[in-house]
């Protein structure tokens, strides 16, 4: 069901959007795309080598969606993502070192080891909601944050992301409905990667697109090509501006989940030709790199420099995570309620680096 856009048409159409961002911004977008891709690939390799505990939920192939929507937010706007959307959180500004510490269950992770992998958030800093597996559980919560902005007359926006699978859940419909009734400043994003775990779109909904459903709630809905980060960004920018004016909208960004639902899943249910088509022709990172080169925004040396930076940052993050101590077991009951001061104080760093 993915939107078909040829490479030539993409290069031509993207020009208009190129003009809306400065060259520095465009290079920053490329850096974010490459960071997210590299992180995803390296973490999967570590997972397969048995060097990474827990689970991984690859967002590979969907970086155009994640970077595109998150890049349209300001730092004080809030983001309510899923486990699949770590790339959006990295785009919003999460510190790679602390993200890596989270994956290894260390005290310097954003959840101090209380949660793992992409079940992460940095509300106090980057205004991202700590991810919860039940989907789309953050959609109603995004309504609440948006209600707060509206009540205080602040020009802030809440953006929530979920996958195509989560749109089958009642909360998705509740949240869209309530946001329209109360005119809440929300941007609803659906990362349609065509599969809910193993379930394809045709077993998830009977309408031609998820974006169409927006009309049922009295808001605009657009369907964009997740392989085209600029198209996604432009839609998100428009939706964010609309939200600042007090109205919600829905963006469906179509891509393909290149990897399994989680690290253990070989995803053999995805037809090989479909996957190959996306990897060969609809890679959002490769496309954007080619676009910037074609328009002389960056050259080979510049691309090489970004790739080196990304590799360096990953290695630094890995070392940071390995040298960060584990939480101490005696803190297991702390921080349930605010009274014990666990979260307002510094935690013990006596846990050592051996599990």
């Amino acid at each position: 069901m993915a939107t078909e856009v040829s490479k030539e048409r993409y290069l031509a159409e993207a020009v208009e959007e190129l003009a809306s961002l400065t060259p520095d911004h465009l290079r920053e977008v490329l850096y974010k795309l490459k960071l997210c891709r590299y992180f995803d690939e390296r973490m999967e390799a570590l997972y397969r080598q048995g060097r990474l505990p827990g689970a991984i939920y690859s967002g590979r192939g969907q970086e155009g969606t994640h970077v595109g929507v998150a890049y349209a937010l300001r730092s004080d706007d809030s983001l309510f993502p899923t486990h699949r959307d770590l790339s959006a959180q990295l785009t919003k500004g999460l510190d790679l070192n602390r993200v890596m510490a989270q994956f290894w269950g260390r005290i310097d992770g954003y959840t101090r080891g209380r949660d793992g992998n992409s079940h992460i958030g940095d509300w106090k800093g980057n205004r991202t909601f700590a991810v919860i597996s039940h989907l789309p559980i953050a959609y109603p919560v995004a309504c609440g944050a948006a209600l707060a902005y509206k009540r205080r007359g602040e020009p802030r926006v809440a953006m929530a992301i979920c996958g195509d699978g989560a749109t089958s859940n009642g909360r998705w419909h509740e949240a869209l409905n309530v946001s329209a009734i109360h005119r809440l400043p929300v941007v609803w994003v659906v990362n349609n990667n065509q599969y809910a775990y193993s379930t394809p779109n045709e077993l998830e909904f009977a309408v031609p697109s998820i974006a169409l459903r927006a009309a049922a709630y009295g808001m605009p809905g657009v369907r964009v090509d997740g392989a085209n980060v600029l198209e996604v960004y432009a839609a998100a920018r428009d939706a964010v501006e609309r939200a600042r004016g007090g109205d919600p909208s829905l963006i469906e960004s179509v891509s393909l989940r290149w990897r399994g639902h989680a690290g253990h899943d070989p995803a053999k249910y995805v037809p090989r030709e479909l996957l190959e088509d996306h990897v060969q022709n609809k890679d959002p990172v490769k496309r954007f790199e080619e676009l910037l080169k074609a328009h002389d925004v960056i050259d080979d040396d510049g691309i090489k420099a970004i790739q080196e930076r990304v590799g360096r940052e990953f290695d630094q993050g890995y070392e940071y995570a390995q040298s960060s101590p584990f939480p101490v077991g005696s803190d297991v009951t702390k921080g349930l309620f605010v009274e014990d001061g666990y979260w307002t104080g510094e935690p013990s760093r006596e846990g050592g680096t051996q599990s």
Partner: protein, 348 residues
Amino acid sequence: MVTQTVESGAAGHGAEPRGKRTEAGEATYLIAIAEALWEEMERDERVFLLGEDIGAYGGAFKVTEGFIDRFGPERVMDTPIAEETIVGLAIGSAMEGFRPVAEFQYADFMSSGFDEITTVLARYHYRSGVPLPVVLRGPSGGGVRASSFHSINPEPWFAHAGGIKVICPAFPSDAKGLLKSAIRDDNPCMFLEHKWIYRRIKEVVPEDPDFLVPIGRAEVRRIGTDVTIVTYGAMVHRALDAAADLAQKGVSVEVVDLRTIHPMDTEAVLESVAKTSRALVVYESYRFLGVGAEVAAVIAEEAFEHLDAPVMRLAPPNVPVPFSPALEDAFLPDVADIEEAVQKLSAW
């Protein structure tokens, strides 16, 4: 169990709920709850209410009657029938600095928001350090012929979720003081009002706007020496009736009103049992894996040397709350049941 009082729509109109007290200054449990909400909204503009039919209609039980005229539709926010999103609105606005109080028309419908309550609200601070000053309130409990879907006692479900304080007051003053404490608390609180008590029990309630009752502290309602009854909610009133009868028969009963289910004041329970050596737990939620099982286990673990008899539980069977008066009366513990259990314990 005899119940004749009209259950809703009897509070009358007016602005400040305090005006609905009797000439003697007594407030019903329902009016005490309304006073708490009103005073906290006057005190702190971050406090707001949301829920179904709470605005112009004033709520299914008329707790918020007149509120919209004073505080406006933004602070007395009517929502669609979307419980997951009611909870989500409360959580998200609390994350951004508000102090929401969400009303459920019946505590039964909290199960329609179960996932947001148990998965987000109960766990978020432990995982992230972000305080969620959210109050969820609603009428719970049976004895009013409201059958299976309007009589639930959901306190064990939510006490078991971990990060939520669960409050079950039995008296108007406690209802007012505990609700004000809950609204001022930086943690999620579930405030379960007992609808049987709403208009049956009234007393002179403190008028001091800073009158608070601490969360997590039990209260000894009647001092006694022979048997301790540990209870909460509407069962406190049955226990007190039974204790008064038993006193005539020469049995001295101490009644401990837990008031808060989580965190539980186990010290107060143990202190009483150390004195009486006999304990009966009376509660309205299910007997199986319930509040009484927890209280009995704590007593067995911490006060075994004081016991002269096994700890007994008196609570409804694990079946849906039935409608027919004959069935509901058989379902709920009544005064005679309590007296029988106490006599059995005394004779041990």
